[in-house]
Amino acid sequence: MVVRLYVAVLPCVAIAVACLVGCQSVVYKDAASSYVTSGRVLTKQIGDTTSSLAAAQDRLKLAKIATDAQCPISENRLFVRDAPGNPVFGNAINASPKLRAMDECRQLVTCEKSHTTSTCARACYSREEGKCVMQIELDLANASQAPDPAPSTVESANAVAKRIQEVEYGRTATTQSKIVIQTLGILTGYLDILDKLAEARTSDIQANTKDFSDKATDAYNGLSQLTGRELSSSDKKTRDNVASAVTAFGKLAGDISKMVQEGRDADGIKAYVAQHADDVPNLISAIRPLVKSDALLADLYTNLGALDIRQALEKQYAGTKDAYTRMLIFSDRDKYQFADTKKLQANLDAAFDALLQSHNSLVALIRNPSDEQQQKLRSASWESFKLLASDFNGAFQAFRAF
């Protein structure tokens, strides 16, 4: 027993001694922890942050829906009125004889102009108006997906998409959050490959790059499928930027995999990676402002929601006769807090910096494997990456108070 234990301990001691001598502070990662596995947590959190913008706006819409007992809440899609005078739906209806002939659309045209009649004064679009909105969306999506659509068609499809985003309740995951999630998945996958290249684990590289290349292709297809139906004009620009970077990654992974299969020498592979060293920083700088600014606007809507809901709570508290129910109402009060904007923004920056730093030190290490400074940097950035993935979770919970 003692002997067996000794045998089990010996290799560890050997590694430790070897490390003291030769490998400085290179971190030995167990098989289950890699950039991909740690990154998955981070990716989800950042993705959730982006979609929290939609959630925060929805809370405001919810408060408005709740003011009107006549909102058609059995419908699959609910649209909430804002100020009258927006011409987008009216223009789309006018442009189509089919829509012009629909009674439902006539009502929509009237109510978009002014809220004077009783139907138009409601908090929600009526069932009929909702039907017309969906018809407009479908017709324009079909028209803009025809081969070679007229520029005016594409433009009005974008305008309608924007308008629907403004008025629809529960328009959950925004296009941007989908883009961000896809991109971060690709990014961590790539970091893993670099990590293996840095350790010169060639057999792993082969399996990894194949897998990564497939994923990059899937992500690219996914991005392409976010059609005009969901995209506003600026979203489309973002998508184009990110899609080209994702394609570049897919190609990169494919190339590396091919080189490994052909038994090309390590130097050739390293040179290739170094040549593409700018791809990652470019991708990160494309998505960083997206995520940060969405988080900022989400914070603003979260604060507005907190103010409104606390008011509603106070009203309910005042109208409740028995003390126990008042206590229950009171206990809800703490759920509605302001967002911790500073902390969240700092965390997002740290997350992107960690990605960037990991990448840079890995590339430097691939270029020059014996560089002790880079080895230290690499292990440090790996540690901070891992830490962030767990710590970000906590920060995020605080941010999403309700």
Partner: protein, 112 residues
Amino acid sequence: MASTDRTTTLYTQTCNLGIVETYMARDLFEPFKIKDRPRLRSQAGDVADAARKFRLLDPAKISDARITTALQAVGAASAYFANINHSLTTGFTQEDVFAATQASIDAVLACA
């Protein structure tokens, strides 16, 4: 045509202005009074909606001059709130702050 950097700055500062105003609606420091709360809340909502609309614009289609005007307006309104939060003397009324914030909302919306 405005650069992406400047549009991002304006967008970020507009969001920050809205956030500061929600804090003021919550904490109500002088010269704001308790009766000002609904107005602060509703104006902060207008700032948020202006930012949200601005976010969907294509930077290539916004004129540089309008961005400059809006940046100045948002800066002026933010300066009022900063003054309230970080200094002892306030030589202005809540109406001044409301007016400056309204001017910011108008200037941001004018970029469309």
